[in-house]
């Protein structure tokens, strides 16, 4: 019975590790293969979160089953990366737009003000600090 559980855990951990490795590799491959910076931005922000997540969950299961040590550290790193990945992606996108994208190439905002990278609302009527 216990041996069965160990075997299942072993299969699950191995599967997660293999999947994580593949996604991590594909994410970095996309970085090299895709031909435009905005496209390249998609590869690392997405493919690597599952890569990291897989490794961390595998390590949680591994230490719980094989080392008899309940560990929730990994959960913290996973949550941290899930929270920070969109922020870094947004910052990189804004830097790229600031340097290389002309406002005329973007769809118009259809509002009184332009996109926050190029335009700002005067200080006294600002609902949210968007910049």
């Amino acid at each position: 019975m216990i041996e069965d559980a160990t075997l299942i855990a072993e299969v699950v951990v191995s599967f997660l590790l293999v999947v994580a490795g593949l996604f991590g590799l594909v994410g970095s491959l996309g970085l090299v293969k895709l031909d435009d910076t905005m496209r390249r931005l998609h590869a690392p922000t997405k493919a690597t979160t599952l890569g990291i997540g897989g490794v961390l969950i595998a390590s949680m299961i591994y230490s719980a089953v094989f080392l008899d040590r309940l560990s929730f550290h990994e959960l913290l790193i996973t949550i941290f990366l899930l929270l920070t990945a969109p922020i870094t992606a947004n910052f990189i996108a804004k830097s790229y737009m600031h340097r290389h994208v002309d406002e005329a190439d973007l769809p118009p905002t259809e509002g009184p003000y332009g996109w926050a990278v190029y335009d700002a609302v005067p200080e006294d009527e600002r609902p949210i600090d968007t910049k």
Binding site: L34, L82, A89, T109, E110
Partner: protein, 163 residues
């Protein structure tokens, strides 16, 4: 009075849980230390965020998190497929403008984060008056469908949670 000691009750809870995760053991001593941090940090940083985010329906948050985690997994598969099996010439990227009905900064931040983590879209910029959000799609034939999906799938749920 209670509001002076716990300016942000959710933050207190979160800091305590994060502390327990960080030390990786649940013992009365660590719980107490975590609670001390959880009470002290919101009180000290109170001047920086005076407004509390209002969560109208806490149960919907769980549903939203499950939906987003599922979408993140699917997003990974979709993007991996695009990277591996589509040539650059056949990939059609597009900028999409999504008009926003949300007004609270927390809700807009969450929506932008969700958009970035889900299939083939990255939230790139807000308009200066925060009335619409600029999204970059990796590979789409129909930008309108992307916009409608974001509005229907994520924004509607966030609106129920926050407003």
């Amino acid at each position: 009075m209670l509001r002076r000691i716990f300016p942000h009750p959710q933050l207190t809870l979160m800091l305590t849980v994060v502390w327990l995760l960080l030390v990786n053991t649940v013992s009365p001593g660590n719980l107490l230390l975590g609670l001390v941090f959880g009470v002290a940090i919101p009180v000290i940083t109170q001047p920086f965020w005076q407004k509390r985010p209002v969560i109208k329906r806490p149960l919907r948050v769980v549903e939203y998190m499950a939906l987003v985690i599922w979408d993140i997994v699917m997003a990974n598969v979709v993007v991996a497929y695009t990277i591996l099996f589509k040539s650059n010439a056949r990939t059609r990227s597009a900028w999409v403008r999504v008009p926003l009905d949300l007004t609270s900064p927390e809700a807009i931040t969450l929506l932008a984060g969700t958009i970035t983590m889900t299939p083939g879209t990255v939230a790139s910029a807000l308009s200066a008056d925060a009335s619409s959000i600029l999204v970059h799609c990796l590979d789409t034939d129909d930008p309108e469908a992307v916009r409608d999906e974001i509005k229907h799938r994520y924004e509607r749920r966030l609106k129920e949670i926050f407003e």
